[in-house]
Each structure stands twice: as structure tokens, then as C-alpha cells.
């Protein structure tokens, strides 16, 4: 939910919480004062009628006055004692309008010239009711106007005030540490956004620098380590050409050569991992998985035959992934190699390619430990293995880079690597 919508919501709630009780209080106080006024009028009228009838008892029986605002009825003494003076609302039929109209009625009794009388006085409430509803209507109108005003204001604010924020957000979304120059935000007059932009610029700049240093270090380390390694290996190779070597010396030279080569490959893989994790493979393109898997399998075909493995590729449909082509090669190459090299003679490999899910299944030996461990660096099945134990680490790093989830499950002798994309 947008920040402004939240504030609007709270403001609206506050407004309702304030306005509804206020309207109620306002309504009842106006009503109360109207009734007070009408009742006062009725009481005065009663006083008037009593005075008039006292002075002129003939009026008590004057039927011509009955059509006015009061009714006089003679009552007995016992009725007089039980009758209390009451004010109440009532409805009276108006023949002119042909409908019931609200009236206020005063019922009272009095004694006059030894007779007891019940007096009922009526006062029309119509005008007052109309006034009250008009006031109420206007209050509600004011409410609606306020709410509309707030929504409009909301729109205007969202459009205008938040513009610099949205511009910065857009810039950050599109910003790439490995590609772009230092970030520059639009200037804004809103101090909060200026502060935010400043902090973001500092943060991104800092990251850029760290990234650049790391990148440089990776490349320098590569150069610094690979060159002496290359020299050492080349010297050994020259030494190997020496026909006068004794067998024992030759064995030593051979061992040195083997280990230097292992070291060189190890360094290469570690640098590759570092580079992947530093996002130093920015070029991406659409890679078709079925084609790629078929090509890699062809390259490894003789090795697959040599191990007597049965390879089946079930390509349900072509799957396109956006990734760096070199990394795609390493990713799928390592998955297939893993299935070949950790297989048993005469085993099988089943590769299943469908949208959203790629499966690499192979026969192998039963595992004693959690297969997820093989994603860790230098995790090997046995310590004596000449492999680096980096193959699946690379797979996972590349997977992380492109949101491909790789899962390793093994049940008995069947190993499955599932890639969800």
C-alpha cells in the first residue's frame, strides 16, 4: 500500500471518528433546543388559555375555539388527580397536504370554576424538522466534499510530490554496478528526498569502488599467480624433453608436472567462482537448453561410450534461458560431467528438459551423507579423488546468478539434480 494511501486512510478514519460523534452531538443539541423552544411555547400557551378561561368561563364551552390549537375536555375529579402534565410527539392528519405531520403535544389538566378540564395543546414541528434535516444534509455534503478533496489531493501529491522519489527508484532499478558510471539523481527541492538521494549516492559509490577493487584484485591475482605457474610448468615441460633423465628423476618431474597442472586448474576455477560471485559476466543472451545439452553430450560422447553409459535425452520442448553463454556452457557441462564421472560402469544418464524444470538423473553409488553437501566447495566423495570438488559449487554459483534453483536428491543409487527455472 502506498504511503500516501496509508496516511489518507488514517486521516479519513480520524475525520470519521471526529465528525460522526460531532454530527450526532450537533444533531441532538439542535433538536433539544428546538424541543425546548416548542415546549416553552406550549407552556406559555397553556398559561394564556388558563388565564383566558378564568376571566371568561364561557370560553370553556365555546366550540368555535376547538378548531384552533387546543382542545378542552371536561373530566371528573378522580381523573384530574391521576392526570399528569406530559409533553409528547404525535402525528396529526393535515387534510390540505393529505398526510400525517409531526406535532408536539402538551397534555395537562386544570380546575376552573369548580369544573375539571383536560387541556391538549398542539404545536407543529414541521418547520423545525425541515430546518433540522437541511442542516444535517449540509453537514453530510460537507463530509463528502472533504473526502473528495482528500482523494484529489492524494492524486495530485502522488503525481507531483513523489515524482523525484519515483525517478530515483527507476534509476536504482536500472543501475548496474558493473556497467554504469557513478549514479546521478535529479535535484529535488524536497529535503527528505535530497537526503535519501545523497545517502544512496554515497552507498552506491562505495559499492562501486569495492566492486572495482575486487574486480581489479581478481584480475591481478589471476595474472600474478598464473604467470609464475605457467613459467614453472613450461620449465618442467622443457625438462621432460631431456632424454638423459634417469627413471627416478623422470618420475619426480612427472609428479611435479601433475601437481602444477592441478594447481593451475584449481586457481582457474577459484577465480571463475570469484568472478561469478562478483557478477563479472554481464553479457547475457538467449540460450537454448536442448541444443546446448545435445552439443555438450556429443562432445562427451566418447567418454560416455567408454564408461558404457546409456544416455537418453528427453526434450519435451525447447527451453530458452537468458544467461551468459560461457557460463551456460560451464553450468550444463558440469551437470552432465557430474552425471558421467560419478556414474558406475554400465549405468545410465537420463536428461529431461521441459519448461520450468530440467532434470539430470544418473545411476551411481549409494551416498552416506547429505547430497546437498556437494554444493560446498572442495566437497568430494572421497579424499583420494583427484577432482577439485568445485564442479557443483560452480553450478550453484551460476544458478544463483540467474535465479536457477538447483536441487540434489539421491535415493539409494539414483542421483537427481533438478534445476527449476
Amino acid at each position: 500500500m502506498k504511503l500516501l494511501n496509508i496516511t489518507t486512510r488514517y486521516f479519513l478514519l480520524l475525520l470519521l471518528g471526529l465528525l460522526i460523534p460531532w454530527t450526532a452531538i450537533f444533531y441532538f443539541s439542535v433538536r433539544h433546543s428546538i424541543y425546548h423552544h416548542v415546549d416553552e411555547f406550549l407552556a406559555n400557551r397553556k398559561f394564556e388559555i388558563m388565564q383566558e378561561t378564568n376571566q371568561n368561563p364561557a370560553l370553556l364551552h365555546d366550540s368555535s375555539r376547538r378548531k384552533t390549537d387546543f382542545i378542552l375536555q371536561p373530566i371528573r375529579a378522580d381523573q384530574f388527580k391521576t392526570l399528569n402534565e406530559t409533553y409528547k410527539d404525535t402525528q396529526v392528519f393535515e387534510p390540505l397536504e393529505k398526510e400525517m405531520e409531526p406535532y408536539r403535544q402538551l397534555e395537562t389538566a386544570f380546575q376552573c370554576h369548580q369544573g375539571y378540564y383536560k387541556l391538549t395543546i398542539l404545536a407543529s414541528l414541521t418547520d423545525n424538522r425541515v430546518l433540522l434535516s437541511k442542516i444535517l444534509f449540509n453537514v453530510v455534503l460537507l463530509f463528502i466534499a472533504l473526502i473528495i478533496l482528500m482523494v484529489v489531493l492524494n492524486w495530485l501529491l502522488l503525481g507531483r510530490l513523489w515524482q523525484p522519489f519515483r525517478a530515483s527508484l527507476q534509476q536504482i532499478r536500472q543501475y548496474r554496478l558493473d556497467h554504469d558510471a557513478p549514479i546521478q539523481f535529479e535535484a529535488t527541492s524536497i529535503s527528505e528526498f535530497t537526503e535519501l538521494n545523497k545517502a544512496l549516492m554515497a552507498l552506491i559509490d562505495n559499492h562501486r569502488q569495492v566492486y572495482q577493487h575486487q574486480k581489479q584484485f581478481t584480475e591481478n591475482a589471476s595474472h600474478e599467480i598464473q604467470t609464475p605457474l605457467a613459467i614453472a610448468r613450461n620449465k618442467v615441460e622443457l625438462l621432460m624433453q631431456d632424454a638423459s633423465l634417469l627413471v627416478e628423476q623422470a618420475e619426480l618431474v612427472g609428479a611435479v608436472n601433475d601437481h602444477l597442472s592441478r594447481l593451475a586448474r584449481l586457481n582457474k576455477s577459484l577465480l571463475l567462482l570469484a568472478k561469478i560471485e562478483n557478477h563479472q559476466f554481464p553479457e547475457v543472451q538467449e540460450v537454448e537448453v536442448v541444443q546446448l545439452v545435445r552439443r555438450i553430450s556429443d562432445d562427451l560422447g566418447e567418454m560416455i561410450n567408454f564408461k558404457g553409459l546409456n544416455l537418453t535425452i528427453e526434450a519435451i520442448e525447447s527451453v530458452w534461458l537468458r544467461m551468459n553463454p560461457d557460463l551456460a556452457d560451464i553450468f550444463f557441462g558440469n551437470l552432465i560431467r557430474n552425471a558421467i564421472f560419478h556414474n558406475v560402469p554400465g549405468g545410465y544418464i537420463r536428461i529431461c528438459i521441459g519448461k520450468g524444470r530440467l532434470l539430470f538423473e544418473n545411476s551411481g553409488t549409494e551416498l552416506q551423507e547429505d547430497p546437498a553437501r556437494f554444493f560446498e566447495r572442495f566437497a568430494k566423495n572421497s579424499a583420494a579423488s583427484p577432482t577439485q570438488g568445485l564442479g557443483l559449487s560452480l553450478v550453484q554459483s551460476i544458478g544463483n546468478l540467474y535465479q536457477l534453483k538447483v536441487k540434489y536428491t539421491a535415493s539409494q543409487a539414483i542421483h537427481q539434480l533438478t534445476v527449476t527455472c
Binding site: 584480475e219 598464473q226 604467470t227 605457467a230 621432460m240 618420475e251 612427472g254 601433475d258 567408454f306 560431467r337
Partner: protein, 225 residues
């Protein structure tokens, strides 16, 4: 064949020169950008091995200068940087091949030979060695005019041996040549061993004058019987 080796690392330069000189190439060396620039202006080379990170300049600039003169000299870039953009840039600027350090001298030698063969227009695509003929275009091998049926990897191995004849090639460099990244697996040595065994058998059956000989424990060599 004249080769210019541009490389600032003296030890590396010595090793490459020693290996390639033994293979019969006339090698000249340049240890800096300036030296290389001067030699390129003065002389004509068949092939240049170019290190792109030189203390006084970028090897890629040398490549640009060279290609501006429309020189047909073959160029192999030697680089310790496995940066994709370097590779793409290098090849786009007209390099013929790209070799990542550290490399095996036997691999470098094979690449130089392959490049020089490609560049010689009038040269045939045939490499002859005794009664052995390799056609690098059709990837066919024959002994005494008789076809030898080889698998893809066997062919690659044989070509590698032929390119490095009479040299001892370490097992690891053979494995890396045919397997690349897969060479650190146990199986790749077993596989290599079986391939060499097959190759040796096929050569013997066809009556080839050359065979593959195991040297000490660490490598193999193509020798005349």
C-alpha cells in the same frame, strides 16, 4: 618460419623460445611494447605470439597497428586474463587464436602449427609423416594410402602428436588438449590410456612407420619404429 614472441616475462619468453626453436622455428623476441613495435615495423613475421599485458602498453594496440597495415601475419594472443571481453576484443581486432595462461608448450606448438598451416595458401592441407598422411580439412588419416578409421578423440590425439613429433608430451597436457576442463577426473586418464592403446594398435595394424611410445611414467611421444 619466423615467429615473433612478445612477452614481458623473461622466464616465460625463454621457455617458449626454447621449445619453439627445437620445433624448428626461427624465433625472435620482444620483451616490451616499444621493442615489439619496432620489430614489427622493420621485419616481416609469419606468426606473432602476443602477450596483451605489457608493462609499457597494451598488446591489443599492437594488433590494431598490425591489422591496419593489412598484414597477413598470424597472431595468437597469450593472456592471463580470462576476461570474455578481452577475448572477444582480441578476436574482433583480427587475432587468429587466443591461448589462456598457463598453457602447455605442446599445446602452444600445436596451435602455432595449425595457424601457420591455415595461413599458407599454397600449402596443402596434408601433413605427411613417414607413410602417415593427415588431411586436416577432411580430418582423415591414411597410412600407405589406406584409410585409417579413427574416432574424434583419437584423431585429435594423433594430430596433437604429429604437431609435436619427437617431443615428450605429458599425460596431463594430452588430457587437457582433448578434454579441456574434464581432464581432472580419474576417468579421463583411464580414457586417455585406452585411446592411446587403440591408436597405437590401429597404427600398427595399418603398418605405420610411427608409433606412440610411453616415456618414463609421465608422458608419450610419437617415434619412428
Amino acid at each position: 618460419m619466423k615467429i615473433l614472441i612478445v612477452e614481458d616475462e623473461a622466464e616465460m619468453l625463454n621457455s617458449i623460445t626454447a621449445y619453439l626453436a627445437k620445433a624448428g622455428y626461427a624465433c625472435e623476441i620482444a620483451a616490451s611494447y616499444a621493442e615489439a613495435e619496432e620489430k614489427l615495423a622493420l621485419y616481416q613475421y609469419d606468426c606473432i605470439l602476443l602477450d596483451i599485458t605489457l608493462p609499457d602498453g597494451n598488446g591489443l594496440d599492437l594488433l590494431t597497428i598490425l591489422r591496419q597495415h593489412k598484414s597477413s601475419t598470424g597472431v595468437i594472443i597469450l593472456s592471463a586474463k580470462n576476461a570474455l571481453d578481452d577475448r572477444i576484443k582480441g578476436l574482433a581486432l583480427g587475432a587468429d587464436d587466443y591461448l589462456l595462461k598457463p598453457f602447455h608448450l605442446s599445446e602452444l606448438n600445436a596451435r602455432v602449427q595449425a595457424l601457420l598451416r591455415r595461413l599458407q595458401f599454397e600449402g596443402s592441407n596434408q601433413i605427411g609423416l613417414g607413410n602417415l598422411q593427415v588431411d586436416i580439412l577432411t580430418r582423415q588419416v591414411s597410412v600407405n594410402e589406406k584409410m585409417l578409421v579413427l574416432t574424434k578423440k583419437e584423431y585429435e590425439l594423433l594430430l596433437f602428436f604429429v604437431s609435436n613429433q619427437t617431443r615428450v608430451i605429458s599425460k596431463i597436457s594430452l588430457a587437457e588438449h582433448i578434454w579441456g576442463d574434464n581432464s581432472d577426473q580419474n576417468d579421463s586418464y583411464d580414457f586417455l590410456y585406452s585411446q592411446i592403446k587403440n591408436l597405437r594398435k590401429k597404427l600398427a595394424e595399418a603398418g605405420a612407420e610411427h608409433t606412440i611410445q610411453a616415456v618414463y611414467g609421465f608422458g608419450y611421444k610419437l617415434v619412428k619404429e
